[in-house]
Amino acid sequence: MSVVTGMAIDAGEIKKYKLTVEVINSPELNQKKGGTAAPAIVYWREGDTIAELAQKMNTGMTRELIFSHMRLLVISLDVAREGLFDFFDYMERSREVRNDFEIVLARKSSAADVLQITYPVQKVPSMKLNTQMQTLKEEWGGDPDIRLEDMVISLMSPGREPIMSIVRIRGSSEQGKSTGNMEKVSPDAFVFVDGLGVFREDKYVGSLPVEDIPYVLLADNKLKQTVISAACKEGVKEKFTVDLKETGAKIKMSVKNDIPQIELSVEVEGQLDGTECPDDLSKKNIYQSYESRIETVLAQRLKSVIERVQSKYGSDIFGFGEEMNRQHHSYFKKVKGRWNVLFSKAAVSVKVNAKLRRAGLVTNTFKAVQKKEG
């Protein structure tokens, strides 16, 4: 049997879809016997439905394919623009396909290419990308961690629109496909996370830069941890950086004159990661001023992200509609057909309560000590 670890869906040239599957070359992954041969094998075929194509893959591959260990689904932007409804039913219905694989969009290359860029450590491309996204989510909050189930829920819910990470290939995708890519200290091609795809219904409408992803997650109360930098004082160039370890967001919805009011109150708790300023960190008021700096900056960024989504895409990717449904059910029932329109008009206010708890291994920065001692 062959284990399928990744699938890529592109628009076909003749038929509707081009499905690419990646199966692992398992002996190559054996710790003892593994060598330098290709860690995975990729095969594609065009057809009109994904369900049919998945069964037809043995036209080119030898063994029975097992889909239960699929780690990654890459969708090209072309297909995403056309809509996802058509093949998500297959994914959900299939007995074998699990619902815990990563779903990403491929920008500036075909989805199939993403499945073929090798990497020296985790040799199988889709497993590399899966781990990469997981770690990114844990460490920085850079991935919305969208699984099949989340997709289906947000596709169905009138108060939420789907999002999906976008990946891109840096470097030469042709060279990245060879095993030679695994032998270099600086591989010829890298797959990296490049942004967040915004959907409306099941169709891709645009993207947000990768820097915005933690704030999108924070507004949805799904952020685990992230890092934020702010200028030490208003108008100063030097910055300090804080690791936000605990984050939480509460959303209060209300309606005024048929305009939804979104009150977002965020609580964050963090530790100082580094500072460029010679402030005396043994003083309480410095901590307090840092806290208020974080509050200002965070509120600003949250607000800007939400407003940008409102004006540019008019698509409620934060799930405010769901919150409205919970808090003002009868109102939401009336407006759920035009919720996205209301969302784009909604008034947003953000309140942040930041707490700076710790400062790493040293209490004071050497800059401050230097300054004190003259």
Binding site: M1, V3, T5, I24, S26, P27, E28, L29, N30, Q31, K33, I66, S68, H69, R71, E96, R98, M127
Partner: protein
């Protein structure tokens, strides 16, 4: 208590007192056998004859108990009739086991049991003195049920020694020993041992009845008895417990079970037996109850491993890949790459190989013992994997299964998991996990239907008996279980009424600052 149909050899007429007649009859019965001794004696004024079988007689005992007392008799001692003989015996043989017999038939039987029989001219009775001897093994550590902490003595082949081991452990007048002679050809002594007014009368009666009903020619081991008295059911699970540890038998006796000991084997059986008995080692009670409980858990786990592991592996690898974490699946598949057989064939191959090795290991003469481990280890462990016939994972699975099957404190119990394992592998290979669990359901159903001397085999779990749970999956401290196992419906239910572990005394008890609960004021 004779089973009845043995030795209709020798006449059952009362003895006439004619030595010639006796001699003739013995020579006729025993024929030319070399170990028959018929020796002339003089007792007082009378001619007498000492008869015994040299091979089972202890010469020293014979001298001490028979020849010396006779030699000390005054030369004018008169032994005229049966009454006088009895009086003489009481005086002369006091302290030695002896019995007055009336018929030739009894005399023959006593001789076969190791007695020496003295006939006196003109007296219509004879006296048999116990002088049994012959080779026997000393008491040694049991070889099949070893423990680290606890008594190290084990039963031997001699029934009297075995009974003495029990008597010494249970110094209680309630310990009853009943003897049966079973086997028309061997006439083996079989003892039923139980605690009067502790064991359930019904169970003892049933055991007694079943023992009396045995009609066979030979008994050499408790295993022979076992098949005669076990309930008539086709089952791989043993329904009696057989052990060579006197401490285990004693523990069973005081918990209300009966034991059967057979002359000529170091294995005793106790009954009735429930499933949980096989998960209990005597050592559980000799070490901390925490450890005892933990080890029970390990034993149940190993039983499940020994039973199911290969079949689970086969079904997961063949049908349920989604149950294995991806990295593990990849490594398993990578190993299986190039293995020419499907997993079920592979599992069968390995299990059968292991069973062959195991049987060879048991039967082989000790001197060539080293060979099996080298050949077995190399053949299974290395060569087969390197030749690509089987995968590494399969070796791990089979090895873990094998090790698990040895955990059972009672060796014979592992036959059930050994046999059922093969059935489950086939079910797993054909139907996947569905098949394995169907098989398990049938097995549990079968276990529920079993009875051992009327006690449900799965008691006290099914039927559930709350009071017995203190010593099933967990062993609670000894003081905590106050009752004997209720599943056995013992005649005396209470084991220890007011048992409690002491609370700690004040730090320096002599100063007596604080009083504990229950201290005499």
């Amino acid at each position: 208590m004779d089973s009845g149909e043995r030795y209709r050899s020798g006449s059952d007429r009362p003895l006439t007192g004619s030595l010639e007649e006796c001699r003739r009859e013995f020579n006729e019965l025993f024929g030319e056998t070399k170990d028959l001794r018929l020796e002339e004696l003089q007792i007082g004024q009378k001619q007498a004859m000492l008869c015994y079988l040299l091979t089972i007689t202890d010469a020293q005992l014979l001298t001490q108990r028979v020849l010396q007392p006779i030699g000390q008799l005054p030369s004018d001692q008169s032994v005229a009739g049966t009454d006088e003989l009895e009086m003489l015996c009481a005086r002369m043989l006091g302290g030695s086991a002896h019995i007055i017999i009336q018929t030739n038939q009894d005399a023959v039987q006593k001789m076969l049991e190791g007695y020496s029989v003295i006939f006196i001219e003109g007296v219509g009775a004879a006296v048999a003195v116990f002088t049994e001897g012959g080779g026997q093994r000393g008491i040694q550590e049991p070889t099949t049920q070893t423990i680290v902490k606890g008594p190290k003595d084990g039963f031997v082949e001699d029934l009297r020694t075995n009974l003495s081991l029990l008597r010494k452990r249970i110094r209680n007048h309630k310990l009853r020993i009943e003897t049966f002679t079973i086997g028309t050809d061997t006439g083996t002594n079989v003892c039923l041992v139980y605690m009067k007014s502790i064991a359930n009368e019904g169970i003892v009666d049933e055991a007694r009845k079943r023992l009396s009903d045995i009609h066979t020619n030979a008994i050499f081991e408790t295993g022979n008895i076992e098949e005669f008295i076990a309930d008539k059911t086709l089952t791989p699970f043993p329904t009696v417990y057989s052990t060579e540890r006197p401490d285990a038998v004693s523990a069973h006796l005081v918990s209300g079970k009966a034991a059967i000991l057979v002359d000529g084997t170091p294995f005793a059986i106790t009954l009735p037996t429930v499933f949980n008995d096989f998960m209990v080692a005597p050592e559980d009670y000799y070490q901390s109850f925490l450890m005892g409980s933990f080890l029970r858990f390990i034993r149940y786990l190993s039983f499940m491993f020994a039973l199911m592991l290969p079949s689970l592996y086969v079904s997961v690898i063949t049908y349920h890949h989604e149950l294995i974490p991806t990295p593990l699946l990849i490594s398993v598949i990578a190993q299986r790459e190039g293995v020419p057989f499907p997993a079920v064939v592979e599992a069968f191959l390995m299990e059968v190989t292991f069973e062959i090795l195991r049987e060879a290991g048991v039967r082989m003469p000790r001197a060539v013992g080293g060979t099996i481990s080298i050949v077995g280890g190399l053949v299974i462990g290395q060569a087969a994997v390197e030749a690509g016939i089987i995968s590494n994972t399969m070796v791990i699975v089979v090895a873990l299964t094998a090790i698990s099957s040895f955990v059972a404190p009672y060796y014979i119990f592992s036959i059930s998991s050994r046999l059922l394992r093969f059935g489950l592998i086939v079910l797993g290979g054909v139907f996947g996990l569905y098949g394995v669990f169907l098989g398990l359901m049938v097995m549990v159903g079968h276990l529920c239907s079993l009875r051992s001397f009327g006690v449900p085999y799965l008691a006290p779990i099914a039927p559930f008996i709350l009071k017995d749970q203190k010593d099933i999956f967990f062993r609670l401290p000894v003081w905590a279980s106050k009752l004997r196992p209720q599943m056995l419906k013992p005649a005396g239910a209470v084991k220890q009424q007011e048992s409690e572990s002491p609370s700690p005394p004040p730090m320096y008890p002599s100063e007596g600052k604080s009083k504990r609960k229950g201290d005499p004021s």
